[in-house]
Symmetry: D2
Subunit: 278 residues, 4 copies
Amino acid sequence: VNAPERILPDIQAQIDHRSMAINRVGVKSMLHPLKVSSATGEIVHTVAHADMYVGLPPDQKGTHMSRFVEILQDFDGAIDHPGMHALMLAMLQRLEARSGWIELRFPYFIRKAAPVSGLSSLLDYHVTMRAQMDRDASDLSFLSGSPSANGFQLTVKVQVPVTSLCPCSKEISDYGAHNQRSHVTITAELSAPVSLEELVGMAEDEASCELYGLLKRQDEKYVTERAYDNPKFVEDLVRDVAGRLDADDRVRAYVVESENFESIHNHSAYALIENHKH
Amino acid sequence: VNAPERILPDIQAQIDHRSMAINRVGVKSMLHPLKVSSATGEIVHTVAHADMYVGLPPDQKGTHMSRFVEILQDFDGAIDHPGMHALMLAMLQRLEARSGWIELRFPYFIRKAAPVSGLSSLLDYHVTMRAQMDRDASDLSFLSGSPSANGFQLTVKVQVPVTSLCPCSKEISDYGAHNQRSHVTITAELSAPVSLEELVGMAEDEASCELYGLLKRQDEKYVTERAYDNPKFVEDLVRDVAGRLDADDRVRAYVVESENFESIHNHSAYALIENHKH
Amino acid sequence: VNAPERILPDIQAQIDHRSMAINRVGVKSMLHPLKVSSATGEIVHTVAHADMYVGLPPDQKGTHMSRFVEILQDFDGAIDHPGMHALMLAMLQRLEARSGWIELRFPYFIRKAAPVSGLSSLLDYHVTMRAQMDRDASDLSFLSGSPSANGFQLTVKVQVPVTSLCPCSKEISDYGAHNQRSHVTITAELSAPVSLEELVGMAEDEASCELYGLLKRQDEKYVTERAYDNPKFVEDLVRDVAGRLDADDRVRAYVVESENFESIHNHSAYALIENHKH
Amino acid sequence: VNAPERILPDIQAQIDHRSMAINRVGVKSMLHPLKVSSATGEIVHTVAHADMYVGLPPDQKGTHMSRFVEILQDFDGAIDHPGMHALMLAMLQRLEARSGWIELRFPYFIRKAAPVSGLSSLLDYHVTMRAQMDRDASDLSFLSGSPSANGFQLTVKVQVPVTSLCPCSKEISDYGAHNQRSHVTITAELSAPVSLEELVGMAEDEASCELYGLLKRQDEKYVTERAYDNPKFVEDLVRDVAGRLDADDRVRAYVVESENFESIHNHSAYALIENHKH
């Protein structure tokens, strides 16, 4: 803190007289390079849009915006369940706040093998990791706490592109069946770590067929026939993925959605199941 | 219903054995021309992205997607509080459903007079109208009911572009102050009709200055000085708009957000207040 | 022009000493309600993003931004070939400019009958109409000229959503074939009016199958089988549409593109043919 | 190449009888992690949308889509002028093509020091690198050629977010001046390497003020006063940046644009200068 800073007035630190708390205040849509931990511990380099907010008490006029930027720029760990917890604690301490919200939105890459040729390629998924923390005023133990306690909550959202093939079209047509790219989206509130790869797998396993970056002709034959053998309505997709999430004890609550970009219409078919298990 | 339809199997109507209800299923992002009622009863022509969903019971395999399209295309009323109610009832009846969700997202236009010259021009606002209905299994009165009863709930969201001018920048600088376009967004669950114009006005009145499509030089002088005389942090914007919504009995619950597209950074400042009044 | 305007200095009208002409200057992405003429003369209400620019001579410091807004707001005709010409002349006169550029981007709706049931529904298309004019310094006849002369040039771009079905997938698979939504985009520089419906038809006729807003089961059977009977690579789509545009004397130059949102990948297949006929 | 591939028919390799060349065909919007070389040789990790196309001769039915994916996935160099050349040669050889087009769109990060406190932070810029190559049928030397010869052309586009402050608003108002975030975009066809940092610097130097990720109070005072001391119309921005590009011999042709997201309107002010120097 140098001389000029000391003499400039700190407007944000003044008293506010409206007696109105603010649920979330901070920086939004800050683009930043990021390292993410894969299921096998490998580092995936990506770029994230970051939102970072804290709760503001009724008597405080404003937050200190530049500190959010410092925290994100100083963070050089990898993003995963403990990484999100560490980032949250750093933010709450630096901003002297009792509650916080961090959301990171980024493309993530998983290496997959084509189903017949075995050729390897990357597929991209849109991921959102959202951490929330609301710690009790009297509880001073949070600094030594683990991510699974002390009011820390992590929600992971993966948007998984898949193939869906329409059962009705297959049944009523003499040949063929319309199929299309669909986005199956899982939003899971976790009580214990679940890797991005596991969540993606739940959606891909239950689709008519999964997607690949690279397919040779024998692979293309396989995925075409696999989708035709495995037709699914948008309703089937969300029900079958919901069944997987119901069976997983690490998932405390979830929303599963599917949006099918219909190849015969210019709008989407859509379904959603939501379940709070407690 | 003609001959070919009768003989093709109806896969969607089959029994489903997973015993899993679907919260929402239907069509998403259907682009459709729409008429909206203004506060003065005038018609504003616009184009909407429409999402229309119903709840699906555990034993039903699929919904009938084409019926959603028919309902929207057959609707030729204007969109407002009773219009959304009418559209909801038409959907629930045609789909034989107990719960429904309709969301319309569209640009809306309001004619404004420039502050000094009085010259008239349109300004555009992004509006979302979302209706939800969940009617009790034993309650058959819903067909004759009014929009304000029987489990019908309307939420209106308006995104209002305004000018915000930074109080800190004004205070610490010898001259000038950074200012920028901001989006103040009000999401209000209504117990009685509130016009789009009223909601927009609440946001514009509390900004550093409101925006206009058309400004002559004398108007530009006015808005420049008005913003400088009226500096607001992102925190001030949400607190002052929240005060307006707190005071309005027709608003049952609300979220107010402000996103300031900072002219000195490449990210936004953001704040949110949410209040469920009951 | 009232008193305050007279006494405020007009900075934009000052002399600029950098001796550098500006190709295009004006307003961009102004959202505005618009009427568009259909092939049958009916009015389609829509909402457009409008860009309006003029060329600025080397010695002029700035243009007058508010005049562009006035011209668009005062225009109450319908958009078509002569409508674009009228709007251009109004802009050039009001801005005292020798060259201009107007681009309108809007969704457009065409009513279509389902292929078997005959049921009627709207389909939406993204349209761009771009007018350019560059009139010779010595030619004063432009005010009385027709749209087809005096340096006026109209380019129409239609993005047409269709179904494409992969010939390779069909050939190598024992059953089924992957298919998907594709965007066929025609950008045509016109020497005589061609309706939006005609341009859309060229793309739809050459696709594996066209799309519809509303399809009953017998229609869904038809479009499924039609696409399977009519497989097309992305290369076939652009070649077959290019053939149609080559044969039309009203089209002076064109670009035809197809982007297939592959149902087996998370990226697109794409092709482009461009032809300047002169 | 294993057994199954050999016996599946190769539809794409068949003869096409429409006698119509295709200008560009390949894959579009493939999301892929990428390394970019900075001016100082450091590696910046980012994620790119990649388009990769080749020209297709009139007699060939289709291209081989999977090869584009293989080339991109196999490329493990860093993206810069020679990197783009290497990627282009790899594509032309593998696809046996005479012409090609590669476009990579990605966020790029530059570390900057705040103007008074000197605090360091990253700022993000949207970059497009586009390589085109069209080699003469008789010229077999291209494989050993340098990037600056043999029909290889590199175009670099940087979108630089800056502050613009309106000279008219400053002049006519008793205090204050409206200012806003603007995007200055330089699209430069290069005859010799120019770093991204140099292009970004040309835009930032000529703005009312440049942006920073992190500013302390003394920095905020500086940028506020700097913008007020340095007002620029959208016309001034493009003229002053064009002057810089005119003076640089490594730039063969350019387009410079500025879009000002006006803080007093809900649309943009925009200007463009284009210059082909030869």
